[in-house]
Symmetry: D2
């Protein structure tokens, strides 16, 4: 179902992996938002991306837990790197997130984005956000739309 | 349908408005996330909140438009101030956002959160995010759950 | 915010109401799904529709409450009549529903669909489903996309 | 991530599969909704279910394609059989569906529901709906809540 899981049989060009990495590097260089949050790209593949972020004290809300906005932002960044990995400019049309457990300052969150379906211009990507203990903090689903132009 | 729109007939205590404002002030004092993004509270009422944020250059993504995460964060903050306005600790269970138009550095976004339904511990809040021209940038719906404790 | 609420200032043609009613009648004549569920159209206006359905014994699931699918179907039908009311063929791109209270056989449900935003080809519609006592059973949000062709 | 995918390491009792099948049989016997739509259970396992439905002429809407409500109902039923498979009464709190391609009368749809996460009383289930050609018609995500009582 996912181009990530059955990559072996996928009609991706031989350099799809190299392209995905070049796209991610170019996006990150101008992605002031992810940089400012110290979000790091751990891995990127065609249709897939893994990013991490440490929850900083300026990401904590009035309940002393991570502001959901930053958990969302990490997931949304992972989604963006995954859906742009084919070097076709792609934006988010909509996203839904479910918060399953709180996270706190000092926690290291890892967001893994995987392509669920891609048909024509529209894609569905699933992102799981886990903490350093492997607990699922949030699950995210994003809908992407391809627009004009290439990333690099 | 909304407790905001028909406040006149609402069984809120006489000091509900004063309480909503005290809660918001207390939340904001410890809300490092919203402070760090220069999010400002324009108005808060029982079940309702209006917040603004100027899109900074460090909120822009690799496509030169606002990272959806910051638009979400603004909406999520407005949701939080609205659903905590009764002084009962309330957290987000899940949220969905639809991105309708892009925003760019320098734009001033206003998020208006309104209570849609509140039954028992569970609430539904709708947030619209508009830019300085009144264009709708995003629509957001949040599901809230009341937990133990009071905000102030 | 809604074209329904501020219809006075809307640039709708003078016969927009008559058109909405003609569209609804034409849609219903070929809407075997809504007919088969005994869904009835109570009201239709440009961007708005009110439909009712009695919960039948064949709409009840293994927990002795209404199968969520039928509550969804009623809401989705109301959404369809609202978003097609301008006589431009419009389909659902996606929907989200929150189930707030159960309903049972014999309950009469009313779904009220209202246009939230409509920009270009894309619309957001909110539908509330209430029972005969005015209790909110479910809240629904649908995203519509205009396609080619007219309804009538 | 899913109890389905790594069932080997799961702490499920030895008779979890037999229990899942007994639960499904008991639910189906009183599930007038699924019966009335000729929905059939193809497979059920702990946290997982596969159901099929042929699109009948009475499931077609005013655009001559399947009413989204019936596609949703099939997905929602698969979700219900998956999340109740542990014999703990479980209901839907909310669902989101994205419609990716139309289906028509005569198409045979298969909904495969898989548990994504289950923590405490709350679960997330993903359902894919495909047609007889393997095209993805819709993707669905459901949030479940465990309530009191057992199914059988």
């Amino acid at each position: 179902m996912s181009t990530v899981d059955d990559g072996a049989s996928s009609p991706l060009p031989a350099d799809a992996q190299a392209l995905a990495q070049r796209v991610a590097a170019a996006m990150y260089a101008r992605d002031h938002a992810s940089q400012g949050l110290d979000i790091r790209i751990v891995e990127v593949r065609p249709g897939m991306a893994v990013l991490t972020m440490m929850v900083r004290t300026d990401m904590v809300n009035g309940h002393a837990i991570s502001h959901g906005g930053f958990v969302f932002t990490l997931a949304d960044s992972a989604f963006a790197y995954a859906c742009n990995s084919y070097n076709i400019n792609t934006v988010a049309a909509g996203c839904a997130i479910e918060f399953l457990a709180p996270s706190r300052a000092g926690d290291v969150l890892t967001a893994t984005a995987r392509e669920h379906t891609l048909s024509g211009r529209n894609g569905i990507y699933d992102v799981d956000v886990k903490n350093q203990n492997g607990d699922t903090i949030a699950v995210f689903r994003g809908k992407s739309t391809r627009i004009k132009g290439a990333v690099v």
